[in-house]
């Protein structure tokens, strides 16, 4: 009797180890501590009902919402696999040897499961493949993104936008966080009280307040990229405080407030509804000119970065383009032109519009995949070095 008990327990604990290993494969971050917790928990359970068993393990082994919701399915899968593995292994054994003892059977079960969990090369290779997904994604052209990849990309973009938006200035402001003492203010405050230092003032670095103006081309030639670029705008809109967004094809439309308070799907629909020539032809020059005359005065200053997303295929007048770009350049801190076509090795800014705009662009970047976009956006904060050309 005693022996049986012990054997039962060891089987339970080895199964528990296997379950943890199985879950680890599914992405659960489990360590020996959790395994130990799970085993203690089981001994604490009032009745050995399976439903309790499962719920207890769920509380201990799941660590976030995704895992919490997936746990039941994984749990069932595990037991199915376990019983299947046992069956096949014991059958195999029983052909070779007729009388297999219980311990051997158990050993067989353990071994076969180990095989299945760890030493299956094809599965391991698959794992590696999924790990490198992110790597592939950073180099993939935005035009080829699938729906799932787009979602992953959004997450990366949001992080990127946040990082760029929250850069610290060298200026300091008073702070609730008690990290750095502001001596000057502390002394000044306490002088009123007779010089005894009674209250302390702390300071932290100020956030750099940059203003951003986004001008996004949504014409036919940009169709493949524009959906992605609207995603990009959306990510930025929600990370920056001071941002103004315009889309243009044949006419200019201000869309800041649409993007501001709505979730992405709704915002995208509203914009495509309101912008009549969505995916029509382009007259970049006149649109930029409109921007300068209507909004340039209020929105552009030496703290503003202008980001233009377009392929530069202009059907309008090159001179209009030139004068518009010139005034934007003069009034802003930096002009960045993201051109998805620039990723092509054969690219040269041949397009008439692009050519005339080029002298007034600080950075021309390709931004056809995440790696290039990242590089371009890192240049956002830098100061302009060259003098204004003629």
């Amino acid at each position: 009797m005693q022996e049986q008990m012990i054997q039962h327990q060891t089987e339970l604990s080895s199964n528990m180890v296997l379950l943890c290993r199985f879950l680890r494969k599914k992405g659960f971050p489990l360590s020996a501590a959790e395994e130990a917790d799970a085993l203690t928990a089981i001994t604490q359970l009032p009745i050995h009902k399976e439903i309790h068993f499962k719920k207890a393990l769920k509380a201990i082994l799941a660590k976030n919402r995704y895992q919490f919701e997936k746990f039941d399915a994984y749990y069932t899968e595990f037991w199915e696999q376990l019983s299947r593995a046992t069956d096949s292994k014991t059958k195999e054994k029983s052909i070779q040897k007729d009388a297999t003892s219980d311990t051997q059977k158990q050993q067989a079960r353990f071994e076969s499961l180990k095989d299945w969990l760890n030493l299956n090369p094809s599965e391991e290779q698959m794992d590696i493949a999924t790990f490198s997904d992110l790597e592939v994604l950073t180099k993939k052209d935005f035009a080829d993104l699938s729906e799932d990849e787009m979602r992953l990309m959004m997450r990366l973009l949001k992080r990127l936008a946040k990082k760029i938006a929250h850069q610290k200035s060298r200026l300091r402001k008073s702070s609730k966080k008690r990290n750095t003492l502001d001596l000057k203010r502390t002394i000044r405050l306490n002088l009123r009280k007779g010089g005894a230092i009674q209250r302390l003032v702390f300071s932290e670095k100020k956030d750099k307040k940059l203003k951003l103006v986004l001008l996004c081309d949504v014409s036919k030639s940009m169709e493949l990229y524009s959906r992605f670029f609207v995603h990009l705008i959306y990510a930025f809109q929600n990370a920056y405080d001071k941002i103004e967004t315009f889309v243009f094809s044949t006419a200019l439309h201000r869309v800041s407030d649409i993007l501001d308070n709505q979730e992405f799907g709704k915002a995208f629909d509203t914009i495509s509804e309101r912008v009549p020539h969505w995916s029509g032809g382009t007259t970049i020059g006149s649109c930029l000119q409109d921007f300068v005359t209507e909004y340039g005065h209020g929105m552009l200053d030496k703290k503003t970065i202008v980001l233009i997303l377009s392929d530069g295929w202009d059907t309008g007048d090159a001179l209009t383009m030139k004068s518009a770009m010139k005034s934007i350049y003069k009034k802003s801190r930096r002009v960045i032109w993201l051109n998805p076509l620039a990723g092509n090795t054969n690219f040269s800014p041949e397009a008439m519009g692009m050519k005339s705009a080029l002298p007034y662009v600080d950075v021309l970047a390709s931004a056809h995949n995440l790696a290039s976009l990242k590089a371009a956006l890192q240049a956002v904060q830098k100061r302009r070095k060259v003098l204004i050309p003629y």
Binding site: A59, K63, Q198
Partner: protein, 297 residues
């Protein structure tokens, strides 16, 4: 308290008016048994904070609450030296010409230590329930501060040394997922996800919390809320809104819903202008699905 069984926990929650399901009771049971912190996540207004309150009441112990916010740091959560007090004390002692070393020892003693919630919890005379509410609002650095308390039940104060817990407090952490919490924090906790309740559970909650509400009214309210949550709203209403609404309607002695009443009291349930407008547009359809057929239109 020591030999609490699973069913007892369930009864205990029920007695306090908290309607739970299997996984909630199990998580609380294990958190108490294994003496581990319990991390509860879920949408707003599904009764996360309530669990801690109910637990404190049921265990007949104190609830110590730490509300997290952006910029919360150790001085507000763990401890702080009472700086002004120390200064005054030094001034008073100046004339007496006391030994400097002895002075130093006194000013860094318990007397001048301001205990903030976490320190309070671990030095409490009785095992308390420590509620760390909306942990995801605090900064990431603050999470790291908590790790020492959560796994080793101690706080280190450089001037004094390490203070060990007299009784391990029962820690409940809640979060709304406004920010992803760190793996390190998650690892140290048991996890519970509470979602919006199904119809039966919500009805049971309404019955328990608003006993004066008419039975038919309660059913209609819960059915309506269930449909309402299916709409894509900016802010989906939680259970607390359901209870508020049931209370409001019951206080008007209504026995059933109709379109006009719903329209007039929508502000109890929805707190966003766009949501209200959106719902008003879909109201007839909603009421039809709920089984409340409107008379006109």
């Amino acid at each position: 308290m020591k030999s609490q069984e699973l069913s007892q926990i369930r009864n205990m929650l029920q007695e306090q008016g908290y309607i739970s399901d299997g996984s909630i009771a199990m998580s609380i049971f294990l958190a108490m048994r294994l003496e581990k912190p319990l991390l509860i996540e879920g949408p707003a207004g599904v009764g996360k904070t309530e669990i801690a309150k109910v637990m404190a009441k049921a265990l007949k112990t104190d609830l110590i609450r730490l509300q997290c916010y952006e910029g919360l740091d150790s001085t507000h959560a763990l401890y702080e030296w009472n700086y002004q007090h120390q200064l005054l004390y030094l001034k008073m002692q100046e004339e007496k010409g006391k030994d400097v070393k002895a002075l130093e020892e006194t000013i860094f003693s318990d007397k001048f230590l301001l205990k903030r919630p976490v320190l309070q919890a671990i030095t409490h005379t009785k095992k308390p329930v420590l509620l760390i509410d909306e942990i995801d609002r605090a900064d990431e650095e603050f999470e790291s501060f908590l790790l020492e308390v959560l796994s080793d039940w101690q706080v280190t104060i450089p001037e004094i040394g390490t203070i060990k817990a007299t009784h391990k407090p029962q820690i409940i952490l809640t979060g709304n997922r406004t920010r992803e919490l760190s793996e390190a924090l998650r690892r140290r906790c048991l996890y519970l996800w509470i979602d919006y309740p199904d119809f039966e559970k919500e009805l049971a909650i309404v019955k328990a919390k608003v006993p004066e509400a008419d039975a038919k009214l309660g059913q209609q309210i819960c059915a309506f809320m269930k449909e309402l949550r299916e709409l894509k709203l900016e802010k989906t209403p939680g259970i607390s809104e359901t209870i508020d609404w049931a209370r409001a309607l019951a206080s008007m002695h209504l026995t059933h819903l109709d379109k006009q009443i719903v329209e007039e009291t929508l502000g109890v349930v929805l707190k966003d202008w766009q949501d209200i407008r959106h719902t008003q547009d879909a109201l007839s359809e909603l009421l039809e699905k709920t089984g409340v057929v409107s008379r006109i239109g």
